[in-house]
């Protein structure tokens, strides 16, 4: 097909509509062009002939007002219902979607996973410093276990809700394979919930491309490196995901603990992880540079 295969639940619905619209518009496109070119050919100038005086025909005009109106009504209804189903999710308290926060800035994406509490904590742009580049508010308990990640890894067939934000200008969170696009706006969080349905490995097999990977790109003009603002997205099995998650480091480092007057946990078992985490914020940027080749 023309579109790459949809790898999300709502993406399949979008593609269905896409196909219906494609078929309808193609028919109109071809039919009108055939008519246009045939008429111009058949009725080309001939001295002996006189054109047919035919100023109007209300019946015909009514038909070609009403028929497009009906077809468009169908398209609008389908579009409206699908649109609602994508953006108005009913929250199921027993099966909460996974929450992931993505923050854009010139020209990178920062990913934050919630810790064990499942909640991504508060942040405030006024708290941004060189060590706290997202301005995370660590006085909020929910923030303290948040994890830093240098790629987006998601379990297959599980709903995920992205909270999108931007630090500087407007960017756009665009993942074509999942049929997701939403602007990230400074000062206004935006949300997109979806369920990925095909793992990266399955997609490699389907496309026959061993190098296939899902991409996240920026689709809103944002400055010099707009054309190279990428992040790898991996869809994996639930098990792989859990495994990957345990390897991710928390945002909260000893330095930040001091900055927020939080007790530096000498006895806590997590301490070992913390010491390495101090250095892990920087590598996330380096990794991104490495991706650019």
């Amino acid at each position: 097909m023309i579109l790459p295969e949809a790898a999300s639940e709502h993406g399949k619905k979008i593609d269905q509509m896409f196909e219906i619209t494609l078929i309808l518009t193609s028919i109109v496109f071809i039919a009108t062009h055939i008519v246009l070119f045939i008429f111009t050919y058949i009725y080309r100038y001939n001295k002996a002939r006189k054109a047919y005086y035919y100023p109007h025909n209300n019946m015909i005009e009514r038909i070609w007002t009403i028929v497009p109106a009906l077809v468009l009504t169908v398209l609008v209804l389908m579009g409206f219902l699908t649109w609602r189903s994508i953006f108005h999710k009913v929250e199921d308290p027993n099966n909460k979607p996974l929450s992931v926060e993505v923050t854009s800035s010139q020209f990178q994406w920062d990913i934050r996973y919630p810790g064990k509490d499942g909640i991504v904590g508060k942040k405030n742009y006024k708290l941004v410093t060189s060590t706290n580049n997202l301005g995370i508010d660590f006085s909020d308990r929910n923030s303290q276990d948040d994890l830093v990640a240098d790629e987006i890894v998601l379990p297959v067939n599980k709903a995920v809700r992205f909270t999108l934000g931007s630090k500087d200008v407007i960017h756009s969170f665009y993942m074509p394979h999942f049929r997701i696009q939403l602007n990230t706006v400074p000062g206004m969080p935006t949300y997109f919930e979806f369920t990925p349905t095909i793992t990266t490995d399955e997609m490699k097999a389907k496309t026959g491309d061993p190098n296939f990977h899902y991409v996240l790109l920026c689709s809103k003009i944002c400055g010099t490196n707009h054309f190279n603002m990428q992040k790898v997205v991996r869809i994996v099995s639930e098990k792989e995901y859990e495994e990957w998650l345990t390897n991710q480091k928390p945002y909260l480092t000893d330095d930040l603990r001091k900055a927020f007057n939080l007790p530096v946990p000498v006895t806590e078992p997590a301490k070992a992880a913390d010491t390495t985490a101090t250095a892990s914020v920087k590598p996330s940027i380096e990794n991104q540079l490495a991706l650019k080749k």
């Binding site: 509509m17 619209t21 008429f39 007002t65 699908t82 060189s130 200008v169 650019k292």
Partner: protein, 623 residues
């Protein structure tokens, strides 16, 4: 610059007041001269915008190659012969701005509204010739200021032609948002002032200065289109000025209308409480009507040209007018479809989707009516006619993809991709340009008293038509594959590599299309001086402008302004001697072809006709 080429080689000055070179060619208040000023300035701007587009197309096709010539031309913006990313964005931005505002708004409406409104409604000039002159000079100043931004250190505005803040508001975000952006905003204010002065003039002339007999339902579709375009401009352009002024405040005075919660590096910006979305609402409140401001004059011109050259009345004249009115009204309530994925409340997205898809109905009606006009016509393939048919083709091709993009659900995946680029370049870019070129070829004799060479015109048409499709049609597929627009190079993402060869095809087609315009430019400027002399009514057309003398005198008609008796589309009327009956011919002179319908319920006239029919052609009384 526009004055050089508008020499009137055989002017017939009635000498009722002194005209110097300055008052005749520069600060002219004659609507015909102002139209030519708009046209020639528009053509020059179009050539500039086209060269800009070829520059960035070269970058897209050969991102890894050096062209030393580029460095010589562009200096530091193409160091080492390769266009820099910032400059690439500047090229895209200024190309868009020039094409949308300076060429397709001022160049199109400015030219043809000025030329045709007084001539086709039967007026000696515009309601306010002085305001009309100011309108041109404000436009000229706007052009000069916009172009001057190429000669400053930080370069022209480069936040895209929609200049979304914060990118456009914070100079730190991109160099073009420094002085270049300030110039962009000043230029835009002058431009809006110009188009308002023009618009108010067009509306008041059409409302107040129609000649005797020219009621609304006898106006050619061109006039209807210009009228509704002007009304739309008057309603929507001021909103852009409001938006622009607030942006100037944010940039220069430190207010926060559009800005909040920003950090550049680790520098926390003081702005608080604004919303970038507000700009988008204000911008698109003009921005969407703007695309209809661009296309409606092209529709009007094409409708007229198609009817004249098919030698048939336009099919469904009333439906054509009502659909224009429908488009005008609806275009004011669809702007949100540019904002489906900006984070605007999704409920609003649903509402705007409904209004957007409704607007496809009047557009469809217009298309079908054009096709029906061709049916059983006797089509003369004049250059103007070819371009008008091309306009219909592009309007269909680009309009249909509007149904995809207007659907919020499909827009999620297509927004800001090359699919959008393909869509609007076909439907408002190419269609409007073809409408404009159709108008230039058709009314050139009225402007300059001479004919353009038709062989060169055919060459121009075919190369441009084919290459335009070759440029824009493939871009749909890039968009479907998820390639975003305004990307400097396709080198960084693996999945885009496969499109590199397509990019080369597109760029080559753009270059060939660009060269084809040389044929037009030569034809245009050569014919002004050396073209074949035009007869008074070269296309055997019904409208009033062809009753004026070829010499194009000040005041348009030497004696009294003619009276209008009939609608402008009496082509190939059964019973008539020739296949056209100008609007100035009274029904008393065309007894053999009159229909009862023509008398609009005038019982006396019907009675006279009935008596005449009984005497000469009894079969006609049966109806």
């Amino acid at each position: 610059m526009s004055t050089i080429s508008t020499h009137d080689t055989h002017h017939d000055d009635h000498g009722h007041h002194h005209e110097t070179f300055l008052t005749k060619y520069v600060f002219s208040q004659d609507h015909k001269m102002i139209a030519k000023q708009f046209l020639i300035t528009g053509i020059i701007m179009a050539v500039i915008a086209m060269i800009l587009s070829i520059l960035f197309r070269i970058q897209l096709a050969w991102p890894d190659q050096n062209f030393p010539l580029l460095e010589q031309l562009l200096g530091k913006w193409a160091e080492g012969g390769r266009i820099k990313p910032d400059f690439y964005l500047a090229l895209v931005t200024i190309h868009g701005t020039i094409m949308v505002f300076f060429v397709l708004t001022a160049g199109l409406s400015g030219t043809f509204s000025n030329l045709l409104i007084p001539l086709q409604v039967g007026a000696r000039d515009m309601a306010s010739p002085f305001l009309n002159m100011l309108s041109y000079w404000f436009f000229f100043a706007a052009c000069v200021i916009m172009m001057s931004s190429f000669f400053i250190q930080t370069g022209p505005a480069s936040a895209g032609w929609t200049v979304y803040p914060p990118l456009s508001a914070v100079p730190k975000a991109i160099p073009g948002s420094g002085l270049g952006m300030t110039l962009w905003l000043i230029s835009m204010i002058l431009f809006v002032a110009s188009s308002l002065m023009g618009g108010i003039n067009y509306v008041s002339t059409i409302l107040n200065m129609r000649t005797k007999g020219m009621d609304f339902w006898k106006m050619p579709l061109t006039i209807w289109a210009f009228f509704l375009t002007a009304v739309l401009g008057i309603l929507s352009f001021p909103v852009l000025v409001a938006g622009v002024v607030l942006l100037i405040f944010d940039r220069s005075v430190g207010t926060s209308f559009y800005l909040s919660d920003m950090v550049f590096g680790t520098q926390i910006m003081p702005n608080e409480g604004g919303s970038p979305i507000l700009w988008q609402h204000l911008f698109w409140f003009l921005g969407h009507p703007e695309v209809y401001i661009v296309i409606m004059p092209a529709m009007g011109l094409s409708s007229e040209i198609i009817a004249v050259n098919s030698r048939k009345p336009i099919f469904g004249y009333h439906a054509m007018v009502y659909s224009l009115i429908g488009i005008t009204v609806l275009s004011l309530i669809v702007w949100g479809h540019h904002m489906f994925v900006t984070g605007m409340n999704p409920f609003l997205g649903g509402v705007f989707m409904i209004t957007t898809l409704i607007i496809a109905v009047p557009s469809a009606v217009k298309t079908f009516n054009w096709l029906a006009t061709l049916w059983k016509g006797n089509i003369r393939f004049t250059p103007g006619m070819l371009f008008a048919i091309g306009m219909v083709s592009f309007f269909i091709s680009g309009g249909l993809t509007g149904i995809w993009l207007g659907n919020a659900t499909l827009d999620i995946n297509l927004h800001d991709t090359y699919f959008v680029v393909a869509h609007f370049h076909l439907v408002m870019g190419s269609a409007a340009i073809f409408g404009m070129l159709a108008g230039v070829y058709h009314w050139f004799p009225k402007m300059f008293g001479r004919l353009m060479d038709s062989k060169l015109a055919y060459l121009h048409f075919w190369v441009t038509f084919v290459c335009t499709y070759l440029v824009f049609f493939p871009l749909h597929f890039l968009g479907l594959d998820g390639v975003p627009r305004r990307y400097y190079a396709f080198t960084e993402f693996e999945f885009m590599h496969k499109w590199m060869t397509v990019n080369k095809l597109v760029t080559w087609s753009a270059i060939v299309a660009g060269l084809a315009q040389v044929a037009f430019l030569f034809n245009f400027f050569y014919s002004i001086f050396r073209g074949k002399r035009a007869p008074q009514n070269p296309w055997e057309s019904n409208t009033l402008e062809w009753t004026t003398p070829v010499e194009r005198i000040h005041g348009n008609w030497p004696g009294e302004i003619p009276t209008v008796h009939r609608w402008p589309y009496d082509y190939s009327k059964p019973g008539a001697e020739s296949d056209f009956i100008p609007q100035t011919v009274p029904f008393s002179e065309t007894m053999s072809s009159n229909l009862f319908h023509d008398f609009e319920g005038n019982a006396e006239a019907e009675q006279i006709q009935r008596e005449w029919n009984a005497k000469n052609d009894p079969s006609k009384n049966n109806e």
